[in-house]
Structures are given as C-alpha cells and as structure tokens.
C-alpha cells in the first residue's frame, strides 16, 4: 500500500514547532519516549516498546560448520523483518531499502563491535560451531526503529541461554535443559544505538525522532555506544554537513542516554531472572497491563434472577425424553471432570453476584441462586445430551 503522504501543513507545523523547541508528543529535545523492555516465556525472546514503536527480538541457535576463514569462531547472524503489520507501507517478503539499511547498521553495531564472544561458541574446532541467529521483528512502526531494534537485539542476546554440550572423543552430546542448565552467551559489553535527527540543515537536533519527525528531517546520525563510552559505530545518512562540534555534542548526549538505557535493560534482566528463579509466572502475558477501552462503558444491568427456577422446571417438564442411543458415552456431569465446563467467561460477574457464598459447591445445582450459568448447569444435569432443541434455548438467551 502506498504511504499516506505528508501534507505541507504538517511539514510546516512540525518545522515551526521544532524551531520553538516543541515536539508533537510534548517531549523535550533530548528526551526519549518511554522505553519498556519485556521478555517472553522462552529464553532469548524480548519485546521493546519505544513509545508506540514496538519491536520483538528472538534469538535461536543451531550447530553448523564454521566459516573456513575462522574455524574456531561461532557465527552470529542478524535479520530484521519489516512486516506489513508494522506499517501498511512495508511489503511482505521483499528486502526494502530501509530493511537493508537497518540490517547493516545492526550488524555493524553488534557484530563488528565484537560484543559477543564468538570463540566460546566453538564446539569442535573447524567442524562444529554454534550459530546464533537474532531475528528482529518490527511489530509497530512509529519512528526510530534502529534504536528499538538495537536494544531488543542486545537484550535478547543477554537473555538467551544455549544448550550445554560436551565432547568425548568424536562424540558430541547436546544436553536438554532438563539434564543440564543452559548456558548464557558471554556478552562483553552492550552497544546501544542512539539516533539524532537534524532539521534545517543541522540547525536543530532531536533525539529519538518519531515517525512524522523522521519524515521531515534532513539528516540522521546514529551513534552506537556502550556504557564505557566506547563508540561502536557511527553513521550519518541524509547527506547533511555536520560540524565537528555537533558530532562531539551528539556523542556526549549519546553517552548519557546509553548509560540510562543500559541501566534500564540491566534492571529488566535482573527482574526477569529473579522471577524465573522464584518460579513465578514470567513472560510476555504477565507483563501486559490490563488495558480496557472505557469510552463505551455501560453501566451494569442487574440480572433478573427471580423466576429462573420456574423457568428451569418448565423446561424440564417440556423437554422430550432424550433418545436412548447415546452418541458419546461421556456425560457432562458437573463436578466430575470439569475441564470442558461452559463458563462463557462470566467469572467476573458471577463473583460479584455471588458474594458471600464462597463455598458454593460446584455440583450443588439445587442451590436456587439462578444465574445463567447455573441454569445451564441445571439443564446439563437433566438433559445430559446435546439435544438440538436445548441448544437453541442457549442461543436465544446469550445475554447476562
């Protein structure tokens, strides 16, 4: 799909706002958007949220033959995937200019800085080495993909554990995680990329540009640095002339930002490690806040539950005697194996309605409480078969 064009009005406004040191989302010139780092249940899976930009990195490993030029070094491979889910302008399957550029920059930032000890990935020199593959998936694009993917990739590498191997003569044994604890990669340092965008031929500078700012910028400078203030890579694109002082200033800002981000990533890793050690629930689903759309919230309507018993009795009376040929021998008797019991996600309301009756026996269908679930349960008890007529009754009253 074609990109939504940027109107002249937006362009003028953005440039004017930048002149007045204002940004669209109320940030200051050197502010990052909020960074959130979360992990999946597996080792080596990391999500990074940078404002609305969202990136996932997944590390995987396999044993391959090494490169001939480096027989005793493991291989680290990076791949950035720009899926149409991130932005309708990204096309499936084709390597766009942007993805090549991001991939190249990520390689320069992480591989060429030698932050991963590749020699420790060697299993048998010249024959078998580990290949570490880092897949970065962009889930939502709101500018500054490079910073988000570099954070995601290095965090995922730090989080990753590879299986333990041992060699005895010619025999190589790869241990499963149950047999031996997986081994983390040895990460020497954490290079993190910081992007600076320049406007009006380098007069104005912004850190962490969002998507619309990226579209009006004149040039981009990406500095990858670690917390020891060592520059791992530096790249300028967009073809603007930068002064020496500007680059120096950018590298100073980058060092501050990198130390902040490294600290955040370290904390996130530490938290995850603790949670895993304690055996708590960890992973992506746990870290999601329970977001709700409240704009369309309607007030709760009380459920009329007075004449339900009569209704149920009525249904029982009217119900035909089920045919004797039973299609499936398993009878849905509540209280026996309640795996497949129909709850319809009503737990919340049910709890509210049944306050003070905590010790409700699940098989006690005599209780005349009369919520819909109970009614259904009663019905199940009586009918015992999925009679088509009864099913229709369920469809007609889906509301609670």
């Amino acid at each position: 799909m074609k990109e939504t064009p940027l109107s002249n009005c937006e362009r003028d406004f953005l440039l004017k706002a930048i002149e007045e040191k204002k940004r669209l989302d109320g940030r200051q010139t050197y502010d990052y958007r909020t960074i959130k780092v979360t992990f999946g249940t597996d080792y080596g899976c990391c999500f990074v949220d940078l404002g609305k930009t969202r990136v996932m990195a997944q590390v995987s490993c396999e044993i391959v033959a090494p490169k001939e030029s480096r027989p005793n070094e493991g291989i680290v491979f990076f791949n950035i995937e720009l899926s149409p889910m991130a932005s309708p302008t990204f096309e499936q399957g084709r390597q766009s200019e942007l993805s090549v550029k991001l991939n190249r920059q990520l390689e320069r930032c992480l591989r060429n800085s030698k932050c991963i000890d590749t020699e420790s990935l060697c299993v048998v020199s010249g024959e078998k080495v580990w290949q570490i593959r880092v897949d970065v998936h962009v889930l939502n694009h709101d500018g500054n993909l490079m910073d988000a993917s570099s954070i995601a990739a290095i965090t995922a590498l730090c989080h990753f554990r590879r299986p333990d191997v041992s060699t005895q003569g010619d025999e190589i044994t790869v241990y499963s995680p149950e047999e031996r604890d997986p081994i983390p990669l040895s990460v020497y340092h954490m290079p993190i990329c910081v992007s600076f965008s320049f406007f009006q031929q380098g007069t104005y500078l912004l850190v962490d540009p969002c998507e619309r700012e990226e579209r009006v910028m004149d040039g981009l400078l990406m500095i990858a640095m670690n917390k020891h203030r060592e520059i791992c890579s530096i790249q300028s694109s967009g073809g603007i002339m930068l002064l020496k002082e500007q680059v120096m200033r950018c590298s100073k800002i980058a060092s501050v930002k990198v130390s902040e981000i490294t600290e955040l990533v370290g904390k996130a890793l530490e938290n995850d490690r603790k949670a895993r050690k304690a055996g708590e629930k960890c992973g992506f689903a746990e870290s999601l806040p329970q977001e709700r759309i409240t704009a369309l919230k309607t007030d709760k309507t009380p459920v009329e539950a007075m004449d339900v018993t009569e209704k149920v009795d009525d249904i029982i009376q009217k119900a035909e005697v089920p045919p004797l040929s039973v299609p499936s021998p398993s009878l849905p008797v509540p209280g026996v194996g309640q795996v497949g019991q129909n709850t319809w996600g009503l737990d919340e309301e049910e709890e509210e309605e049944e306050e003070g009756e905590e010790d409700r026996d699940s098989s006690g269908e005599e209780e005349e409480k009369g919520t819909k679930t109970q009614k259904e349960k009663d019905k199940d008890e009586v009918v015992e078969l999925s009679d088509s007529e009864e099913e229709e009754v369920v469809i007609l009253h889906p509301d609670t």
Binding site: S7, C9, R11, K16, G26, T294, D399
Partner: protein
Amino acid sequence: MFSALQDRVGQILLPGDEFCSDTDDTISLSEPVKSEKLVCGPGLRRSGARLLVCKSGVLRHKPPNVFWIDCQQRRYVPARGETVIGIVTAKSGDVFKVDVGGSEQASLSYLAFEGATKRNRPNVQVGDLLFAQFIVANKDMEPELACIDSSGRASGMGVFGGGGLLFRVSLGLVRRLLAPNSDVRSDLEQLFPCELVVGLNGRVWVKAASIQQTLIVANLLQSSDAMTATQRRQLFAKVQQGAL
C-alpha cells in the same frame, strides 16, 4: 427480532453475536399482520434468518427501525455525501488525485471548486489539504470528490489556509465530535478558542492561537479517544488550570 434488538440497545456487542428471527407458529386472525422491517446499519449483517454482528461496539437505535453498531475503528471506507479531509497527491490533466485514507485515492475535478471555470483554475498545490465531499463512492469505482455543494457554493469546503496541525483519531471520536450537542466539543470550547475541521475519515485539523495551544488540543483529542466522560472532564480541567 425487533424486541431482541431493542433490548440490547446501548449494550456492547461483539462480532459473532447473533439474533434469530423468532417465527411465531401462531398467527392471530383478529389483529392485522404487521411485517417487521429492520434497517441494518454498519456492523450488522443479515445472513438468512439471522442477524449477525460483525463489529465490536455499542448497539444504537434510531426510531423507528434503524439499528447500527457504534464502533471505534480507524479504517475509513468512503461513503457518498460524507465530508472528508484529503491530501492532494498529484495533479494529472484536469483532475487532482486526493488521498482520503481509504483503500484508493479519490479524484477531484478542478472544475468542482466554487467559481472555477476552464480559464480560472483553482490554486491547488500537491501536498495541500482539502475539505471536500464525496459525490461518487461505491465499492467498484474510484471515489470522486467535489468542493461545491449541489447549488455550486463552496459552503465551507475548499483548500485549507496555512498553519494548523493535521492528526488522526478514531472514526468513533470523529462522529462524537460532529454530533449535535457533542460533549467533547463543548468541553473543548471551554479551554481556548481554536479552529477545528473534522473530516469523517478520521482526520482532524486544528489551529489555535499558538503552536503550544495547537499541540495541546491535538494531544487532548487524541487521548480522549478512549476515556469516559468523567475522565475526560478531569483531564480538561487539569489542562485548563495549567494553561491559565
């Protein structure tokens, strides 16, 4: 079915919910047989005897028999007669190509402006914003826009002046903004004076006295998308205290 629908007006429905037309097997001979006629709006679809919900949102009803789902989607599908904000992407021959956020670009004839003749062409540049109305919009044809109403007057449509900020909100918020006696709008009016152009395609253009104020209005509207009325009022009150 009518009563079943009417019972659920104002409730949230989800895709997959359905209503069955209950056929009475008894016909009263004394009373006249009145046929139940329903008009299904967006989000409701008929499938045989059933009525399926295909969007998530609140069921709305307009007497006598119109029902629709009020949802918060962001994708715009052009519809005839709706006024939208478009961005001119190309000038080709005697039509402008305009991006309206739909699946296809709309075309706008240069004669469809107030006072435009073959000699007197309107001054429209690529990248300009337009407020225009759909005169042709169906699923098989390229949509067509016009910046004049049926009597040839501009009536508020045309090219935007300079300044201001364009941003996107959900279609639900746009409809709430445009509704008569809209509470979002009245809350906004109490803050500070601003010009607001609302297109039904989810684009909103704002211009206030200063850039700061324009940004505030834009961010307020974008964040009030998923807020209850009380939350929104609290937020607006906070901004008012801060701004004054």
